[in-house]
């Protein structure tokens, strides 16, 4: 898209708002978001991201998109990720390493059950989205 007018910006915002709420990007209904601030990367977030891509590829799982975000603030349990799977609560996992990624793919994404020993709560409510970010 080139330079926008006011109307185009508003239209784009509405579109993207819907997309972000559905979190359904190009037929991928599941989403893994990896915290990729300097703190996350220092703690091994790149390994986590790469392992996700690799395991998803190996298992031919094609409905999961993997994206990055900034620091969530939970520096004591970095690397942190958030997993969105339809029909399941959105979950933040902390202290994730390659082995945990395998567990998350097998148990959470495929098996639809939570990986119990790595769950953490979002530290604050969301002031922007109406439903508090869930």
């Amino acid at each position: 898209m080139g330079r926008m007018t006011l109307e185009e910006l508003r239209k784009l915002r509405d579109e993207k708002q819907n997309a972000l709420q559905k979190r359904d990007i190009e037929g991928k209904d599941c989403r893994v978001v990896v915290g990729m601030g300097t703190c996350g990367i220092a703690a091994g977030a790149k390994v986590v991201l790469d392992t996700f891509l690799q395991i998803l590829d190996e298992n031919k799982i094609e409905n999961v998109s993997v994206t990055q975000t900034g620091c969530m603030g939970l520096c004591y349990v970095e690397p942190t990720i958030e997993v969105f799977v339809p029909g399941m609560p959105n979950v933040i996992y902390g202290k994730v390493d390659a082995a945990t990624v395998k567990k998350i793919v097998e148990q959470h994404i495929i098996g639809k059950s939570l990986v119990t020993d790595h769950m953490f709560d979002r530290p604050a409510a969301d002031i922007i989205s109406k439903d508090g970010g869930r």
């Binding site: 993207k16 990367i41 520096c75 942190t80 604050a124």
Partner: protein, 595 residues
């Protein structure tokens, strides 16, 4: 197959001690017994951080928050909530249906953190402008360009009561207003991203997680004061933040949100990045502007203030990253909304980088007026490894220590100054009983001495002298007269230094002397370091009554200072000992002692 419900049982230490384990067991059994074992997953989670109401059980997707649950309640939770879909109101926090009140974010505790600056950090992909736009991004800019005059924007900031987050807390609207009132063809907008306090990383995380919020805010400022050019001054040692800013600027230009004729409004504004080499003094605004101009980063006398005569002599608004990140929200949600958060003296929130001897280190954003106790013990989870709290340093090398006695002070710009520290940019370093206060003061002073630009004598010579005296004290050669000298030099630096670096450099020494006089005296009079940190004042020895002669320490000693036969009492040769402390860590019987 997906589960219908998820039952989360808190498995934190506090809840566990009030039988959460039994609750978990009972819930699993009840689910099986009542025939929904396959449809419900019972999960034991980490601490919810709401221990005073524990044990806690949360049921998803309804997000019902049950408190003070007992193992006997398991049956009812399953039969009522899971089977019949009715919440067990007597166990709910607030005792009312969660759909109305007991949503997690409505509970007071969780509102201890409130995220304005960090609203998008951890939500959006910072390298995708669409995600920023989807979350009310550039809505404030729309308002500023099409609905508001420059005076309207400044008035909104005045209503909001926003004060600069870089440390001094100067009212933002006033700065903008000064620049606006000067008539000049050329004006500048500058973002100070030269974050340099040891242990502080709020600005870096904000830029890495949400770069567009700063770009949007700077553009708004350009509109308000009549500037068309902005600079972001950021240290080269923040490569990821720089990369994300560059990506964000490129995307904004493509969308017509930066550059000429923004959104067809006729307003032009563009931003350039200037990299700093990482000198702490360049966070001082006049030194920063010198550095942007290509000169050596040295502070200039004020007035004239940059708002009137700044970059290349033109009116320049310079704000810190965190200040900028607040501005889009103030315009979209309104100054009134913002002014309801915080205290009478300081509105809004403050981001702190909570580090040191704390359980949950991290980036914390709280409303002004939150107490230090809430930050350290509730959000931070208290002191790591069960040690005792000693003090917390706010304001980095410019601030001071805050002790147990002042932990309940609600934090704002004014209150922190009253208890002898300062807000600073938001570093918050927690110390426990193992930290030596004289050593900490020496650390900060070494830092400011290294970072002093050397332009004015009070800072250049005073700082070095303070450092030498502290060195002398920690080596066991201090005299009581030294304490007086520290005070005299410190006060002189405060009065005589040109910029805030020198004016605040003695703070860690002066405040630690005020709150821990006995620790300074111990170093000077008794020639001991109570925490065992100052190596020159410590000797290691082995208590013959406790030593069983296991040889573990002797094998670990890197310099062979420990001798002794198997099953015989060992001894340390103090003339060889390098005081590394390995023997003390190794000994399982507590036989190694320091004096």
């Amino acid at each position: 197959m997906a589960f219908r419900n998820y039952i989360l049982v808190c498995g934190g230490t506090a809840c566990e001690s009030s039988r959460s384990d039994q609750i978990y067991q009972n819930l699993v059994e009840e689910c099986k017994a009542q025939g929904v074992g396959d449809e419900v997953q019972v999960v034991k989670t980490g601490c919810f951080g709401f221990c005073e109401q524990g044990p806690i059980v949360k049921i998803l997707p309804e997000d019902s928050f049950y408190v003070k649950v007992s193992p006997e309640d398991a049956k009812e939770l399953v039969s009522e909530h899971i089977i019949k879909g009715r919440e067990v109101t007597r166990l709910l926090y607030n005792k009312e249906s969660s759909r109305k009140h007991a949503k997690v974010e409505d509970i007071q505790f969780y509102q201890k953190q409130f995220r304005i600056v960090l609203r998008n950090c951890g939500f959006i992909d910072p390298e995708n402008i669409d995600e920023y736009i989807a979350r009310e991004g550039y809505e404030a800019l729309e308002k500023a360009l099409f609905e508001m005059t420059g005076d309207d924007i400044i008035q909104e900031l005045k209503t909001a009561g926003l004060r600069g987050r870089g440390g001094a807390g100067f009212p933002t609207w006033m700065k903008w207003n000064f620049s606006k009132q000067v008539s000049s063809e050329i004006k500048y907008v500058v973002c100070n991203a030269d974050e340099g306090d040891p242990g502080a990383y709020m600005d870096r995380s904000t830029l890495e997680g949400d770069p567009h919020s700063v770009l949007e805010a700077m553009t708004i400022c350009g509109k308000a004061i009549g500037a068309s050019k902005g600079f972001i001054y950021i240290r080269a040692e923040y490569p990821l933040a720089i990369h994300r800013l560059e990506v964000a600027m490129k995307q904004s230009r493509e969308y017509g949100l930066l550059g000429e004729n923004i959104l067809g409004s006729g307003f032009d504004f563009d931003i350039e990045i200037r990299l700093g080499a990482g000198a702490f003094v360049c966070g001082e605004e006049t030194a920063l502007l010198q550095s942007i101009e290509g000169h050596r980063g040295m502070p200039q006398p004020r007035p004239p203030f940059p708002a009137v005569k700044g970059l290349w002599g033109k009116p320049t608004v310079i704000n810190n990253v965190e200040t900028w990140a607040n501005i889009p929200v103030i315009l979209t949600k309104g100054g009134n909304w913002f002014s309801k958060i915080g205290t009478a003296d300081s509105k809004g929130t403050k981001v702190f980088a909570l580090t040191g001897k704390i359980c949950n280190s991290g980036l914390v954003e709280v409303p002004m007026g939150t107490t230090l106790r809430e930050i350290v013990f509730d959000i931070g989870g208290g002191i790591a490894h069960g040690k005792k709290f000693k003090a917390v340093q706010t304001g980095g090398p410019s601030g001071g220590v805050i002790t147990e006695a002042d932990l309940d002070t609600p934090i704002d710009f004014g209150s922190l100054v009253r208890i002898g520290s300062m807000m600073g940019s938001g570093g918050m370093i927690v110390m426990d009983e193992d930290d030596c206060i004289v050593d900490v003061a020496k650390f900060y002073l070494n830092f400011t001495v290294d970072e002093s630009c050397g332009k004015c004598a009070p800072c250049r010579i005073g700082g070095r002298s303070l450092c030498n005296i502290l060195e002398k004290i920690t080596a066991g050669n201090g005299t009581l007269q030294d304490l007086e000298t520290l005070k005299t030099i410190g006060e002189a630096m405060k009065k005589g230094s040109l910029c805030a670096l020198g004016q605040t450099a003695p703070n860690p020494v002066l405040s630690s002397m005020k709150f821990f006089p006995e620790e300074y005296r111990a170093h000077i009079v008794d020639k001991t370091c109570p925490s065992g940190t100052c190596k020159k004042l410590v000797t290691y020895s082995i208590n013959p009554e406790k030593c069983i002669g296991c040889t573990a320490c002797a094998r670990k000693c890197p310099v062979g200072a420990i001798t002794g036969e198997k099953k015989q009492v060992h001894t340390i040769n103090t003339s060889v000992c390098i005081k590394c402390g390995v023997c003390m860590e190794t000994c399982k019987f507590g036989a190694v002692e320091i004096h």
